[in-house]
Amino acid sequence: MTETQLLRAVEALVFLSPEPLSLVRLCELTEAAPGPVQRALAELAARHDASSGVELAEIAGGWVLRTQADLGAVCDRLRARPPEERLSPAALETLAVIAYLEPISRPEVARVRGVSAEATVASLLERGMIEEAGRASDGVAMRYRTTPAFQERFGLKGPHDLPSIAQFELSGAEAEAVRQRLRDAGHLPDEVV
């Protein structure tokens, strides 16, 4: 298969597939080596630049052709967009806990959050943001993990395409500010100087 043929085949596959196609899957389908397929993807991404109606995106562990963001309105005239509900702050926090600590059970999520997570986990399950990931060998609680739908919705290339949790940690000054607020409110005793 020549490079041109491979490029056309990759373009046809990512156009036809309703879900992201991984590099491995593209290699299987085209019977080509990873190197040429990667070059074809790069060429395809360059071909579908801002002047094109669609763009090549690496999302949820694979490659997919999607419409350009500025064409959303005209696309919605063709097809009614399925209603999607916003996630509440509690759901986003729970999602963050699961995304960073997956697989994690519901009681473990509740311990991290400090509050019950039953309703939130059920809601995330219903929305397809998380899925069951089996039970731990030494436990009976079901564990959960995020789904490709979660990665797609939040524009993640894969389950681990998250910023380091360390960058979200409170700095020493910020942690001290929290403690000071607690002290000001009378929840913590004043430090003995």
Binding site: S17, P18, E19, A57, V64, R66, T67, A69, D70, L71, G72, A73, C75, D76, R79, R81, P82, E84, R86, L87, P89, A90, L92, E93, T94, A96, V97, Y100, P107, E108, A110, R111, V112, R113, G114, V115, S116, E118, A119, E152, R153, F154, G155, L162, P163, I165, A166, F168, E169, L170, E174, V178, R179, R181, L182, A185, G186, H187, L188, P189
Partner: protein
């Protein structure tokens, strides 16, 4: 007062005061800030909602919950008794421990709260990119070329009235034991003895069984004598004297 009340978050934490789902730590905070009058807080309801819910708490979480609830109960008791007692001026080491834990938990959970805020900024719900949503099965389906006559033939097959379903298998065969006994009596009257095998040649298993029962019935009444020379062999049914008189 109602327990399920939404209160502004004093620590800018997006928490709700829903005691089954909501944070006990925030409730504790509000009580300590005296934004909620502890004297009016129904502790019994609070305990029931918290511990009798459907949530299965693990032991460490349950321990922390019980500790928090006990702290609330103690604070309420102190308030009801009166705060003029000199003993109340001394800080309670247990309550301080709970507060320290509360502060530690708030600080430990902060990264995930910030990650949740980051996720909100990444949420594609407001984005305008659109994906194909056609199921793969539909994409795989290909249609060949067909002649209009094929469609006509298919419709013609659909318009043929289907055959009436047979219910023969639902009919139960009925065997009258009285008729078999009468038939057996007639045969004995004519021949004096009959062979069981000859009587049941070509009969099904039900007729075999009922004929055997008829033979046993005649033997019970003394009208016939049964003899089977060889085990599992033929049964000879002979008319008795009683049978002759009948």
């Amino acid at each position: 007062m109602s327990i399920r009340v939404r209160v502004a978050d004093p620590l800018r934490l997006p928490l709700e005061l829903d005691l089954f789902e909501g944070p006990l730590d925030l409730l504790l905070t509000l009580v300590l800030r005296e934004e909620i009058d502890l004297a009016e807080l129904p502790l019994r309801d609070l305990v029931e909602v918290t511990l009798d819910g459907e949530e299965s708490w693990d032991p460490p979480t349950t321990g922390e919950l019980v500790l928090l609830l006990c702290s609330l109960a103690e604070l309420k008791a102190r308030r009801l008794v009166g705060e003029d007692d000199d003993d109340d001026l001394a800080p309670d080491p247990d309550a301080e421990l709970v507060r320290e834990r509360l502060a530690a938990q708030l600080i430990a959970f902060a990264p995930f709260q910030r990650a949740g805020v980051w996720l909100r900024t990444q949420d594609g719900i407001d984005g305008a990119v659109r994906y194909r949503r056609v199921p793969l099965q539909a994409a795989d389906r290909t249609f060949g070329r067909h002649e209009p006559s094929e469609l006509g033939d298919a419709l013609a097959r659909l318009m043929v009235a289907p055959q009436t379903p047979s219910l023969r298998h639902m009919n139960r065969r009925r065997v009258n034991i009285g008729e078999i006994v009468a038939e057996l009596r007639g045969a004995l009257r004519r021949a004096g003895q009959v062979s069981f095998e000859e009587m049941t040649t070509g009969a099904d298993r039900l007729a075999h069984g009922m004929t055997l029962i008829a033979c046993l019935e005649l033997a019970r009444r003394g009208e016939a004598h049964l003899e089977q020379p060889v085990p599992f062999g033929d049964i000879i049914v002979q008319r008795t004297q009683a049978g002759n008189s009948g």
